[in-house]
């Protein structure tokens, strides 16, 4: 017992803290620092301090504002659909009870598939001409022509189409978390409600959902953060097109940096993006999740 407990705990945490400081905090610091400079894309090129110029350029750029709205819309679409589908499945599994266990396992497998593979797969399913989705809808009599809906070529709907792989990949995550939450609802409460004559909708909206609120909040916040960072699935499906209609924030920053070679502007965009995400996440945690206030 040469050193006291507090110091021992500190020693245990130091390597991980150092790692995060060097490989997360320092790059973030560089990102913020770079956002005040006009930087040549070439190594060793000129680097001029321009103050807030990059921020002004970001906020006056139509691309940036557009990408911001698209990211928001994308996140809302993904999280809403995923939540609705995941809750439906979780309720289904819960009402079917123990015997559904093997099915729950099967239901989980897309979670393990790389997003890039999922994006590729759905591109293949929705592509014009030989995409299976259009053909099946045509054969089912819903569409007159298999190519009637240009899933990935129509700028009006492409933002929805590129969200499909994301929804497909992570609905099971939402389902599992909600299922775990449902398992923890005390049965006597349900029994009491049933004796009081509550029917299914009342049961769902007045008893189950309020009881699940903390679990729902955490699931929504976690998935919201992930959806707002979507990159792989969109890049492989449309690369942001057509006409930037599916260009979300990650893609825009990536392109500003790599294609247009403007690290200063890209850093300013990245900084705003990060701050916005932190702000929204803290707001969500404070208002919906309310840690500690829900018991």
């Amino acid at each position: 017992m040469r050193i006291n407990d507090r110091r021992f705990a500190l020693y245990l945490m130091t390597p991980a803290a150092l790692f995060l400081a060097v490989f997360v905090a320092y790059p973030l610091f560089r990102l913020i620092a770079d956002s005040f400079f006009k930087i040549s894309p070439f190594v060793g090129g000129p680097r001029d301090f321009v103050g807030l110029d990059n921020y002004v350029r970001a906020f006056t750029s139509e691309d940036f504002i557009g990408a911001g709205w698209r990211t928001l819309a994308y996140t809302v679409v993904v999280v809403t659909l995923e939540f609705a589908l995941g809750l439906g499945m979780a309720l289904l599994f819960t009402t079917l009870g123990k015997k559904s266990q093997i099915w729950r396992t099967v239901f989980m497998y897309p979670l393990m598939i790389a997003p890039i593979v999922a994006g590729l797969l759905w591109k293949f399913l929705m592509i014009d001409n030989f995409g299976l989705v259009g053909t099946l809808l045509h054969q089912a009599g819903i569409l007159q022509d298999p190519n009637q809906i240009g899933w990935l070529s129509n700028p009006d709907i492409v933002l929805f189409s590129v969200a499909i792989p994301d929804i497909w990949l992570t609905t099971s995550f939402m389902c599992l978390v909600l299922f775990a939450g449902l398992q923890n609802i005390p049965g006597d409460l349900i029994e009491a409600a049933r004796l009081d004559g509550a029917r299914a909708p009342a049961m769902l909206f007045r008893i189950i959902l309020p009881l699940l609120r903390p679990v729902i909040a955490v699931a929504l916040v976690v998935r919201g953060i992930d959806a707002a960072r979507a990159f792989d699935t969109i890049l492989i499906q449309t690369n942001g097109g057509p006409q930037s209609a599916s260009e979300t924030m990650s893609l825009l920053i990536y392109r500003t940096m790599i294609r247009f070679g403007d690290p200063g502007l890209a850093s300013a965009m990245g900084t705003i993006y990060l701050l916005a995400m932190l702000g929204i996440a803290f707001f969500a945690v404070a208002t919906i999740w309310r840690p500690g206030k829900d018991t």
Partner: protein, 317 residues
Amino acid sequence: MRVAERTRNDGGKAPSVAAGPSVPITTGGSRRRNRNINREGLEAGKRSTRTVLWILLAASLVLYGFPFLYLLLTSFKTPIDTIAVPPTILPREWTLVNYISALSRSGVVASIINSTQTAIISTLLSLILAVPAAYGITRYKTASGRVFIMAALVTRMVPPVAIGIPLASMMASAGLADTPIALSIAHTTISLPLSIWLMSSFFEAVPQDLEEAATVDGCSRLGALWRVVIPVVSGGIAVTAIFAFLASWNEFLFALLMTAIRSQTTPVVIANFQTQFGLDWGSMTALAAVYSIPVILLTLLLQRKIVAGMTLGAVKG
């Protein structure tokens, strides 16, 4: 730590809202009893209702599973069948030609080796850093520990695209450009925070008497951690390792920014198929299948552990 304490009280799954002041903290036994009542509570009673629900479940699962099945079936089609109009579901002729052509392309096998190598290094790095840190946070409950675990949570909100470029240039100036080590480090920035949260909740479940007994018997604190606590949480370490491995195996953005030729991983190669070779759907589907099947098998094998980690990870942050 409020979250951690709360989740532990009700079985590490969901904060229990219903537990009023009169309900004592549940023990293992009464929790099980609760579950049984729960089953009677939420399960559908009538046989006809149940049948309808089973059919609904089967239909949704077929629909949900179909896309990947179609990818598998496509990978066995001849290149012409792959893009036939209208598309067929089953291959007219089963062939392995796509697998042969995908795997014989230069760089493909190397990329699978790179992916494996990167994921293993990143998993080990993540565990080596996260296990002691999480132990320090949960066992001693110091203020610095609370600050640290919140800071780790905030790290989850950092978009990879924001740190990707500065990270890549840091690696380049350290002479690590285009190496599996550099990419492993980048992947660890993603998996470390989650690993710390997961391991913290596993350590929460270990009774402290265990190590106290060991220290009384003459073990040092590190000795007690290594010989007594680590074996007890080995299941949790396995879960954490699976998640760290998967995070690296499936990651794309860092891999795109930080690798060129020598250390390219398979997701980047799959993405490059689109431009370099036109749209060779047959080879793409074959490589995608090769890359996905091992992790799907692993998942089915270890599904209980993964479900535990997933719900824990989500509820905690």
